[in-house]
Symmetry: C2
């Protein structure tokens, strides 16, 4: 037993979820996971949403094994194997080929256990946090300190953005081998302390088309996606980086909404079409626009509309878009993510509560960071809350931008015991 | 009384509805109604859907007046005035300025009555048929025989396509004055006798964003619409004309579905986004794809996928799209229009009846051309009919391509009496 314990090395990390505001959809290389366009995301705080992963290696392990949320799963998945192989390759490179006895042998089998602090069924894109955490824990285990977003990308494209905190760009890169397709921090999580995020977790919807298959069908059939990737995204990415640097919520929010809508537009332009937005999503989108319109017409002076330059004959001017107070974004699933500044949270949460009255678990309806109470002015309720849909939103998670993967020093937090098997969960 | 009767001239015409298979969305000139792209439609048969319009002129009329479906409406609408003005201008030009007593005076006021043989509330895009019929009746009244699609276009863009039967192209034109923005017949209604059309009239949905406002917002805010109009539609239009000439239902149907989806994608790319498809539309779309997949996998050999040429690195091949048996298209409203060949109608109607069981009026569920009975094989029901939605489809209208506007010779069919006022309706 003593010998086995001495030969057991273990590392535990946590990693965050991220929410894209310039969306990733479509690969130019499906094996290396190289995207057709760059993307940009906000890393969410791990106090609310995180994955924890423990990786262990021992000469006594007879095979690689993996447990997700306590249940053993097949470790042979090509993407898991790619991450394992790449981390070991970096470790080997680092050691310059010498295998001294003080370092962990790369030939040992590994055991990995991974857990989310949120229900997988909530559809909160756990694969990005999961692969970022796997790569972080393995890298720590083997003492690798290189650029790791390239490795995480091999697990799941968006996982590379979860390797950094705050505001993160995934540069598409140009090289065929993917060595320049990396995540890069645009600004740390401390850059914009007022920014807040609400995740509206919606009630049961069947599993939609998976994103891996869906995006590849889009690449093959949507002429609009090709134009988006080649022409629209490069412009938008530069704009979004500027909005973030300037902490310009109006620009950030409007562009986030437009880009979410355009991503879903390219899904609809796919053949056969892919739908991730449903009637509830439409209700949430309409609610956000009504809320913004109400405040735009009552609180904020009208501005010049920010519309794309349009060549051709002059057009009838439309009423200028109002500066948004809240901005939605939807990924390849039914949940809504809504950005706002801290001083909007209390009121908007109350608007959501009015619009989607909690069904049974009213006390658990708001989770995460504290939310203050708000009394809604009657004219706000009248203008914004139309046709309440009881029970449609399961709960609201209140969170904010946060840091990248963290090392867990406390050995009591390891998910694997001294025997290399998952500890009984609390 | 004799004098008044002799001075009364009257003409009655009927005009058809049309369904675009390459969609029109967006104007480059909102006054002249010049589109940003050419479009192509199928004119539907007037035995099922038609507008009837009587136009009368008399020296005894003291003002222009207009009745729609029996109710008097404001004749001052700029688009109605544009049609009146343009027809009178053509008449004046024709007469070379000479106003002889045998011809109808252009200074007389007109009375116009117009009726649809289908409920306006059914959302069957009655404005195209309405303006085509108005222009046809006025032209007949004044003895004008010129190219009239340019005049109908001034009433409603898509009305120009209702000026011809069969398969009709609306060429966007290049001139700023719109004189080359005209409808042109691609093939007459007799060209493809097997083609059939089902209109699925869905149950009450609130009035969505009007197309005039909606398309202008799209022109101003959607980068994808601009690309569609400039790059995608010109290619698709040429392809669609060829599919029609070759009576290639596979090509026609797949391109119609793709173009409908792309139109709705550009609506979603509009800011704020416009939604015309709802969860019921998604159900109908999914039903059509399941039906096609079922027949594609059981009856027809696999073909090379017809996907857009894609520059760039090679892609993972997707499973080839199956040759469609049915093809949906949706306009700026909730009804579905489904194209198919005659030998598919009986079975597909039965599939719709299984999927959307009629609520109360089961005997009126199928209207229009006769539909034979069909017994669905159990494996078809199992593969295609999932989650029936009782009452979601109000009725099915079975129709086919038909001719352009018709003159009504029988004076008993005039909608205005000898007094120039609407006759009591039957």
């Amino acid at each position: 037993a003593m010998a086995a314990e001495r030969s057991l090395a273990m590392a535990t990390c946590t990693a965050p979820v991220n929410i894209a505001v310039i969306k990733y959809w479509g690969k130019r290389d499906t094996d290396l996971i190289l995207p057709i366009n760059s993307s940009l995301s906000v890393t969410l705080h791990q106090d609310q949403l995180k994955t924890t992963t423990t990786a262990a290696a021992s000469r006594d392990f007879t095979e690689d094994r993996l447990w997700l949320n306590g249940a053993e799963v097949d470790v042979g998945h090509p993407r898991i194997q790619a991450c394992l192989r790449e981390v070991r390759r970096l470790a080997r490179k680092r050691r310059g080929g010498s295998e001294d006895t003080a370092t962990l042998s790369l030939s040992y089998k590994v055991h990995v256990a991974s857990e989310n602090n949120f229900p997988t069924a909530a559809g909160l894109a756990s694969s990005a946090a999961g692969y970022a955490c796997l790569v972080s824990a393995l890298a720590r285990l083997y003492g690798v300190e290189d650029e790791l977003s390239e490795v995480a990308r091999r697990g799941s494209g968006s996982a590379c953005r979860s390797m950094l905190g705050g505001f993160v760009q995934w540069q598409r890169g140009e090289r065929p081998d993917g060595t320049d397709s990396l995540a890069q921090q645009v600004a740390p999580e401390t850059h914009w302390p007022e920014l807040r995020v609400l995740v509206l977790v919606v009630s049961g919807e069947k599993k939609p088309v998976g994103s891996t298959v869906g995006m590849q069908t889009s690449v093959e059939t949507s002429p609009l996606l090709k134009h988006r990737a080649e022409v629209v995204v490069p412009e938008r990415l530069a704009q979004m980086i500027q909005h973030i640097r300037e902490r310009d919520f109006e620009g950030f929010g409007q562009l986030a909404m437009r880009d979410s809508n355009q991503f879903h537009a390219t899904c609809l332009d796919t053949f056969p079409p892919i739908f991730y937005l449903n009637d509830l999503s439409r209700h949430i989108i309409a609610l956000a626009h009504r809320y913004n319109a109400h405040h735009g017409h009552t609180k904020v002076p009208a501005r010049t509309p920010r519309v794309p330059r349009h060549r051709g004959p002059p057009q009838v001017p439309m009423s200028p878009p109002v500066p948004p107070q809240v901005a939605y974004t939807f990924d390849a699933g039914p949940n809504a993510v809504i950005f706002m500044l801290a001083d909007t949270v209390d009121e908007f949460v109350e608007v959501v509560r009015h619009s989607f009255p909690p069904a049974t678990n009213g006390d658990q309806f708001i989770r995460g960071l504290p939310v203050g109470s708000a009394v809604l002015p009657q004219e706000l309720v009248g203008a914004v809350v139309t046709e309440p849909m009881p029970g449609a939103v399961q709960y609201i998670l209140h969170t904010k931008p946060g840091p990248g993967p963290q090392l867990v020093d406390d050995p009591s937090q390891h998910l694997l015991g001294a025997d290399g098997l998952p500890r009984r969960r609390a």
